[in-house]
């Protein structure tokens, strides 16, 4: 049963990736949007290199948050066209499987955005690129995608749900945003006093609580009967 679910998740993730890479224009526009946000931030705030370097972690995560929001909306939009979601449910797939597959494909796309946007920031804001950032990329995007998928699936079917998604999701993601920004900041500053631990713990707690909660609630939320 568990093994079958695993293969189902893999197949669905593969489907999402395939569809997204076949029509790359959305992914490209998402990355352009991220790049544009970086430009806008630097115009709106200041061009002083020292100041920009200081606030770069916050700007980075804001950019990721906004881009992920567009990702979430997109990922359910396609399923709603022509009742494809109902089709998936008719195959007898467990709502948990549907949730996990959507969560994983969103996670992969958020990580992809990060992997492209961050070097861009390094280039534009003269930051130092440290390999130890991979863990925070992973944990931060896991937090965003675990709750984002839940809320994205929830608001996708509503009339006027477009504005509800950020309204519901962003306040929930405040712990993730805070912890991710702090860890990125400390990592870039080489974390001399090793203050990262406590933020890592918070982030892991958040990720596990909401991943588990979302899986448990997916029966209720994703089964559209």
């Amino acid at each position: 049963m568990l093994k079958r679910g695993f293969y189902q998740v893999l197949a669905l993730v593969k489907k999402d990736l395939l569809l997204e890479f076949r029509e790359v224009d959305h992914l490209v526009s998402l990355l352009l949007f991220g790049f544009l946000l970086l430009l806008l931030f630097s115009f709106a705030l200041s061009v002083e290199p020292d100041f920009m370097r200081k606030i770069a972690p916050g700007l980075f995560w804001m950019t990721i948050l906004f881009s992920s929001l567009m990702m979430m909306e997109r990922s359910f939009q396609r399923e709603n066209e022509g009742g494809q979601w109902e089709g998936l449910l008719l195959t007898g797939a467990d709502p948990k499987v549907l949730y996990m597959s959507k969560m994983l494909s969103n996670l992969l796309f958020i990580i992809l955005i990060q992997v492209i946007i961050f070097p861009l920031m390094v280039f534009l804001f003269d930051l130092s690129l440290t390999p130890s950032l991979w863990s925070i990329f992973l944990l931060g995007s896991l937090g965003i995608s675990s709750l984002g998928t839940t809320y994205g699936g929830l608001t996708a079917t509503l009339k006027g749900g477009g504005i509800m998604l950020p309204l519901l999701l962003f306040p929930m993601l405040i712990p993730v945003l805070l912890a991710s920004v702090k860890i990125t900041e400390l990592t870039l500053a080489h974390d001399i006093f090793s203050q990262r631990e406590v933020w890592f713990k918070l982030l892991i707690l958040f990720d596990s609580v909401f991943l588990l909660g979302s899986i448990l609630l997916s029966d209720v939320l994703f089964d559209r009967s």
Partner: protein, 217 residues
């Protein structure tokens, strides 16, 4: 009839509690009379937390029992809880201006309360968008469970982020008349909140009956 009587008694009780807050309790040795706003601010915050906790329990029960009664209870308690949270925020702000010198500060407790306020307001807005009753009750229960789980995490994260809200006083450091005034106010506000809760619950029931009548037409 009995319900109206309960409301009247709660209101009278609240007025009596204000007599303790405004007349019997002595002025604070530092803050003077300004502190008297806390007689409503603190009980509002307490009762808001109580009602929102109750809404969490009611949401769990909605999912477990699939009952419309628990759904209505959860909805009503969130509405009254949001009202009290807003009251606590507004009164705290009015008190903060003369005492701290600012209307607002990014202190953990304030920030957490503001986030809590927005989270539940969002949930109430979401509720209006879903028409099917069965589906609405399931979605609302899930969302409010998620929100309630997040509140302690938000609190700790904000606390580590900013470490001006005072440490709470305890009964030993306060004048006995102040303690009595505060307790009476807490109880009076609890009674009033219960009155609102039941009122909102009955209203929700009537709304549903109305809806069903319209649907069957």
């Amino acid at each position: 009839m009995l319900f109206k009587l309960f409301g009247a008694v709660a209101l009278l009780f609240f007025a009596y509690a204000q007599y303790w807050a405004l007349v019997r309790a002595p002025a604070d040795y530092q803050m003077g009379d300004v502190y008297r706003i806390l007689f409503v601010h603190v009980p509002a915050a307490w009762n808001a937390l109580l009602l929102l906790t109750f809404s969490f329990v009611a949401s769990l029960m909605t999912l477990l029992k699939r009952s419309a009664t628990w759904d209505r209870l959860a909805h009503s308690s969130i509405e009254v809880g949001v009202l009290l949270t807003g009251l606590a925020l507004a009164l705290g702000s009015i008190w903060g201006r003369p005492t701290w010198g600012v209307w607002w500060t990014w202190d953990p407790r304030l920030t957490t309360t503001a986030i809590l306020f927005i989270l539940y307001l969002g949930a109430l807005m979401l509720r209006r968008l879903i028409e099917d009753r069965e589906r609405r009750s399931r979605i609302m229960a899930s969302v409010s469970i998620l929100i309630y789980l997040n509140v302690p995490i938000v609190y700790f994260s904000v606390k580590w982020w900013r470490t001006l809200h005072q440490v709470q006083s305890n009964p030993n450091t306060m004048d006995p008349a102040m303690v009595t005034g505060l307790r009476l106010n807490a109880l009076a506000l609890l009674a009033l909140s219960l009155f609102f809760l039941i009122f909102r619950y009955r209203l929700a029931k009537r709304e549903q009956i109305n809806q069903e009548k319209e649907d069957s037409k």
